[in-house]
Amino acid sequence: MASVKLPSARSQGLAHCHTCHMLNQLPEGDHHGQCTRCFAQVHFRSHNSIERSWALVIASLIVFIPANMLPIMTVNYLGSGTADTILSGIVTLINLDMAPVALIVFIASFLVPLSKILGLIILLITVNRHSRVEPVQRTVLYRIVEFLGKWSMLDVFVVAIMGAVVNLGYITSIEPGRGAAAFAIMVILTMFAAHAFDPRLIWDLKDNE
């Protein structure tokens, strides 16, 4: 396939609509316009994709620190309270002999957000350097990052459920902590970062060959 020149829609002056998948012929010199079918904004390539994605990745890395340092909930049991961060909550689960659940929480709350950020950094650096390495695999990486997005909200929802359900006054109660808010912000930032990245940039060099 390498010997055949594969035309991109852009090389033919056509912009693909990301919402309804219609092709739009843009006037000469324009880089964006409105889709003729669904009226969404269409671009040859997302505007400032790399810069916006980098900014959001860095912001989410910064918020990652308070999200893991602040307690996401405080468990009160017979008058004594212990504050749990995400990681200490996982340790608590292991101590309660619930290793499988601890594993789910560890993957969803710690591994997933970090690998999402790492994956995006790899994509951004390779695109910045005009890398020709494995475009198919990098596209798959992008799809994984995009798919994983929402799953890191898991712990925020767990805290919301636990705070309402576990409420027996003095005997036991759970108080949600500030960490949950920081964590939610971090997840949303990574979702926007993945959204800002335009996977078509991975393929642009191949088309020019």
Binding site: H18, H21, V136, K150, M153, F157, G163, L168
Partner: protein, 214 residues
């Protein structure tokens, strides 16, 4: 698989006979697909188009089922716990109120958006759209709503909340004995319906119907 274009064929084809891959921007010739057929990008294997069977009836049925499950799923108790003769249960709405009372206003707004507002809006929109499609109506409002339906997709988080309940259940079992509420079953049914909507919905067909291209 999508059909590759030769260097000279581009000029001979109309805009509507072409399709581009959303992930790698490869330009291809659009094929008319038979029911159940799927076209994928020959370069990056992305799904380009898929014809689905009886899409408007099936989608409408499951979307309606989802709307019915919606009320008990949000208002009935999901989980509860029991210890030394005391019990406490909470519904989805009570969860949101409780987190609001803990002064985590942002989190309460986000849970409301991701688990109630967006899933509900998307189910209502898809019901309305399927009625338009069944009646062969073109609609500008329909096109706009359908655009929102797609743009909000990743912000609907019913499946994540479901997993959250499973994790919470295990955590509760570590403290006391757990109670399973009616809301839990309703929520599962809501989640299944919402998932089936995306399974049964023929995206491209609905765009073409609403814009009068088909």
């Amino acid at each position: 698989m999508g059909k590759l274009l030769g260097p000279e064929t581009r000029e001979q084809l109309e805009l509507q006979q072409l399709i581009a891959c959303s992930d790698c921007d490869l330009l291809l010739e659009r094929k008319d697909l038979a029911e159940g057929e799927r076209a994928s990008c020959p370069r990056c294997n992305n799904t380009l188009d898929e014809r689905k069977k009886d899409t408007s009836n099936r989608t409408l049925a499951v979307a309606f089922a989802g709307l019915i499950s919606f009320i008990p799923a949000t208002t009935q108790p999901l989980l509860g716990l029991q210890a030394v003769g005391l019990t406490n249960q909470a519904s989805l709405i009570e969860c949101i109120v409780s987190i609001y009372n803990s002064q985590l206003y942002l989190v309460s707004v986000l849970v409301t958006l991701f688990c109630i507002v967006i899933p509900l809006a998307r189910l209502l929109i898809v019901c309305y759209l399927m009625i338009l499609v069944k009646r062969n109506k073109q609609s500008l409002l329909g096109l706009r709503l359908y655009r929102y339906f797609h743009e909000w997709e990743e912000w609907g988080m019913l499946e994540v909340f479901m997993l959250g309940m499973v994790v919470a259940l295990y955590k509760i079992l570590g403290l006391a004995s757990a109670i399973y509420g009616v809301g839990l079953i309703s929520f599962a049914s809501l989640l299944i319906s919402a998932t089936l909507v995306t399974q049964f919905l023929d995206e491209q067909y609905v765009w073409e119907k609403l814009s009068g291209q088909r």
